[in-house]
Symmetry: C2
Amino acid sequence: MTLNVEKPYVVGMDIGGTNTVFGIVDSRGNVLTSSSIKTQQYEKIDDYVDAACTKLLELVNTVGGVEKIKGLGIGAPNGNYYKGTIEFAPNLPWKGVIPLAKLFEERLGIPTALTNDANAAAIGEMTYGAARGLKDFIMITLGTGVGSGIVVNGQLLYGHDGFAGELGHVIVNREGRLCGCGRHGCLETYCSATGVARTAREFLVARSEDSLLRNIPAEEIVSKDVYDAAVQGDKMAQDIFEYTGRILGEALANAIAFSSPEAIVLFGGLARSGDYILNPIKRAIEENVLKIYKGKTEILLSQLKDADAAVLGASALGWEVGKTV
Amino acid sequence: MTLNVEKPYVVGMDIGGTNTVFGIVDSRGNVLTSSSIKTQQYEKIDDYVDAACTKLLELVNTVGGVEKIKGLGIGAPNGNYYKGTIEFAPNLPWKGVIPLAKLFEERLGIPTALTNDANAAAIGEMTYGAARGLKDFIMITLGTGVGSGIVVNGQLLYGHDGFAGELGHVIVNREGRLCGCGRHGCLETYCSATGVARTAREFLVARSEDSLLRNIPAEEIVSKDVYDAAVQGDKMAQDIFEYTGRILGEALANAIAFSSPEAIVLFGGLARSGDYILNPIKRAIEENVLKIYKGKTEILLSQLKDADAAVLGASALGWEVGKTV
């Protein structure tokens, strides 16, 4: 860590469909300062890079300038680690293949690496969070969609093209719900926050029992409403988590047969629903896993602070790219 | 390869439920000489090791003795690479955990490594066969069961406990066929040679059309009969391969979302059924894979000679263990 005396910080940048957030992070995972811009405001990629670099340099100058920064790590949807590109990201304004890492590296002179947001979360968890010291684990991000980052033998699994680890798009029910990807029955149509809200709407139609959820217009229900109802003892809400957790646990049992991880780390709003979702997940894993795996894989909750997690995850990649320079 | 002048050979040993086959292999993948013993004949592991070592030393002496042997690689069901053990293998005579690598290493003085048979096949394919030069691929063995060996970034995926890569036991239909593992709907209940025979029996009952398969007593049908009938234009037999290939392709589409391999290598009797099974596999993969993976993963057939493949695969592990000594 001798170099850190000269370059003690990394920059993490998380590109979401709505906001792009960046922060300066030290080696202990403290976010020293952060800022953001609106992603959707910039239709041209050059304008976006301009705006991001301007804001970013303001931050960087508060800690001593670019010479103090070891690397810039970017987490982005459809991010390709090998090429440093964003490729055909449906929720971003720029179409086709965008060489984003190169654009930032040329502008800032900081070594830059890019990966998708769930991979960034896995690296963040390994660097600063619940997966410190683990060599084989699977990160599952439960947000608007379901993302995953798979770590084997201490390394992120990128696959031959940089796109490995899309467990949210494993098909769990071939006659199931239509997914944003155009196919049917992907895991994320059931086990994302959006999936939970869909399940609530289905249950409200299919069942006749009373539920606190009937007090909310069906189209406005979000997963947080289901959680709030569950906490108040609402049976239907609790059943929705039971249903969600079971499907996720069954899918994770199959994932365990793939990489036999020592832990699965859950991140995102749904993961904070506590035992309502954790118990059915754990039960479904134990019931569905091959005998040789029984009782071996721990289910852990992310230890990254929610507000910082995406930036922290991306920043961890900054240490890695910094190593090679 | 300088050491190879002194130690130019490895020994490969394949432990099956019926036979244990071993052979001496050179660096080009030629099996110079081979032999076998009956696995089931030895109820005590010590008697088995005695018998195997006696036969093996006979072979080894024909090429100049143990000092010419770089390593011994063993492929065995339920083989644990990390520990060198066979653990609770249902089809072998020895119960519990057997420290097989250690037993052979102590007796022969040859560095010994052990892994399961499908992992051995993957290493064999990477060393001598269709996967030479590939860093990310999945080996699928279609035999009595369905086995798999997953290679990521040039390394076999062992997982935290040595048992990763059991794609034959991914559940593809939760209300499906009873599997030997005690669960329902595992891939291997449909896509193994045994699975094809089960499908044939189901189709014969469920359908009323004529078929060459009706000339065989239902309980005696094996997958080779289905192939022979398909070649003669039998519609039902062709449909059985269509059904089998589609289920395998759907499962492989999910596997691609996990590790994004550049190729999937198929090995075993069913893989030799040619286009009858390859076409539906390829079609199901393309129809079921996430858009970012479309057209990227090649389906290859094993290039290892069938009679030698298991021994060759195991022997390739002998080069690896030999490296560390």
